[in-house]
């Protein structure tokens, strides 16, 4: 050693399984899905909860604690989880089955398809870690779940934005009779939409704010990112409208066409999902089929690739879905 002092080692950013989407100082609510389900289940004795060894990580533990005799632990067996949910629905119950989005969409696809969706059974599938919400790499990142689930006939697909959206979507999906796949934000979930006079309605897109230059149509937490990006852009005099479309299927085609058809605006879709087969391509199809041609159409989405492991903020920036990345790209496109 030469005697010079070793510089303090820079602390490396790490990935964490329980990664929160909340930014510093952002208001959050704990386990909105679990608490909403408990409230709904109070007057709905037909609701039962099933998990595949991930109750604690899908916020279903809140329900399990409130209604222990209505909670079924199915073990680490996702094919069974879906089949058993189908069986319970056949006996008149409303099963809410939870696991991670990767395991539902990849491993249990045939079981959701043939045992639940083909029969239009009243099963609700709520899945944590949708898209890029964990740094654990492709084994846990469901970056293609919307493409997979959207292709399944009869299945309603929901991608809520924040704690309020998750709570209201939970109420709405249990009120609806039929199979539903909901992407679940769990743990400490940011609260954003309470400032936008918003109410979740199944199958409806909601215009959260207007703007003359660009229309962003978003789902999931990308609506939150779009709203934050809009604030940055508006400081520069760029008017950005945000249309939140939490129901991926059926899409609210009328509202999307009405907003995208108002000429002169750049239309951007934003989603926490691969660019292949998700919200963006769904909306492109809607516009093309209706002959609506915006001045330009762009997609903000994850690349068609198996993504890196790492810390969420690092990855969100790397793959272009952080607030800063969203604002930067829209500036470039304008």
């Amino acid at each position: 050693m030469s005697g010079t002092a070793t510089p303090p080692k820079k602390r490396l950013t790490t990935s964490a399984m329980i990664a929160s989407l909340a930014e510093a100082g952002q208001e959050t609510r704990p386990a909105p899905f679990g608490h909403a389900l408990v409230r709904v289940a109070e007057s709905r004795t037909d609701i039962v909860g099933l998990s595949a060894d991930l109750a604690k990580y899908t916020d279903l533990h809140v329900f399990a604690k409130a209604y222990p005799d209505r909670f079924y632990q199915m073990g680490m067996a996702e094919q069974l989880l879906m089949s058993a949910a189908a069986g319970m629905a056949r006996e008149g119950f409303t099963p809410v089955a939870t696991t991670y989005a990767v395991f539902a969409s990849r491993r249990a696809y045939d079981f959701i398809c043939m045992a639940i969706a083909e029969e239009k059974l009243n099963v609700k599938i709520a899945c944590a870690l949708p898209g890029l919400t964990t740094g654990y790499g492709p084994s846990h990142q469901a970056t293609e779940d919307l493409a997979i689930m959207r292709a399944m006939p009869n299945l309603v697909v929901i991608d809520p934005c924040d704690a309020l959206d998750v709570e209201q979507a939970t109420e709405a999906m249990t009120a609806y009779c039929g199979p539903v796949y909901m992407r679940l934000l769990r743990g400490q979930v940011p609260l954003v939409l309470d400032r936008y006079d918003y109410r979740f309605e199944l199958g409806k897109a909601k215009l959260l704010k207007g703007g003359k230059d660009v229309l962003v149509i978003a789902s999931g937490f990308m609506t939150m990112r779009a709203l934050a990006a809009a604030e940055q852009l508006e400081a520069d005099g760029i008017g950005m409208a945000v249309l939140h479309s939490p129901t991926i299927k059926p899409l609210d085609e009328a509202t999307i066409l009405a907003e995208a058809g108002r000429g002169g605006r750049l239309v951007v879709t934003a989603e926490n999902h691969s660019i292949t087969g998700g919200l963006g391509e769904a909306i492109a199809g809607v516009l093309m089929r209706a002959g609506v041609h915006p001045s330009a159409f762009r997609q903000i989405a994850l690349p068609d690739a198996f993504l890196d492991a790492g810390a969420l903020p690092t990855l969100h920036d790397r793959y272009g879905i952080s607030t800063e990345a969203v604002a930067r790209r829209i500036r470039e496109w304008l």
Binding site: G75, L80, M82, G87, R90, G92, D110, A115
Partner: protein
Amino acid sequence: MTTTAASDRRSNMTLAQRAWHIRRKALRMGEVQGQGYIGQALGIADVLAVAYFHSLRYRPDDPEWEERDRFLLSIGHYAIALYAALIEAGVLPEDELETYGTDDSRLPMSGMAAYTPGMEITGGSLGHGLGIAVGMGLGLKRKGSKAFVFNLLSDGELGEGSTWEAAMSAGHHKLDNLIALVDFNNQQADGPSTATLCSEPLGAKWEAFGWHVQRVDGNDIEAVRAAFDAAKDLAEPRPRVIVFDTTMCKGVPFLEQREITHFVRVEPQEWQQALDVLDRSKPE
């Protein structure tokens, strides 16, 4: 409402005669299509006769009667066998037999719940039945129902891992209202089941998963009946399985001898020949 308990339906016809009728109906349906899963239907006819004319509680004119025993067919291609049993049981009208596998028929080649009264689930994609049976078993217990859930599986289907997820779960939950029926005919699409993905020793496997196990000759009606009774009457809080060793194409010797019996090729003139052989062996 007509009869409920199966014992009332035995009337003056023996179970062997019922099995014979099921075989004949299946052959006639096969003839309509000129092909079909005849081997399975002929092989499982005795089990279905005991199920529908001795063991199951159901109402032929009310297939969704809440207190019925549920009979899940996970092996969708066996639909021809179940249709024959459902027609024999009076759940389906006899004249629909002619429509088997034809456009807009309620009797498609692979069994689907939305199409056919008495078909509880959509099988065909193998490995679904037992998991659904677990959910129905849990649901029935939740409702305080005394009904049983039967699930007819095949030996080839046991290659599907989901079946073992369900078997483990049924043992874990001590589902004493669940009775699995395994048709062990040792024949699947690519050849003998034991040479394709061997499930032996099969009884020991179920036993290890916490099930009560019986293994009987599935073409011996008295043995089949005794096994059904024992499965229902068992006092232990465990799920029950009966493994039935059956012979593909049972009852039509010249078809039994075919090398490939999973999907039997039957020449046009052979249908009448098969019916004639069967007719000559009609039980007294």
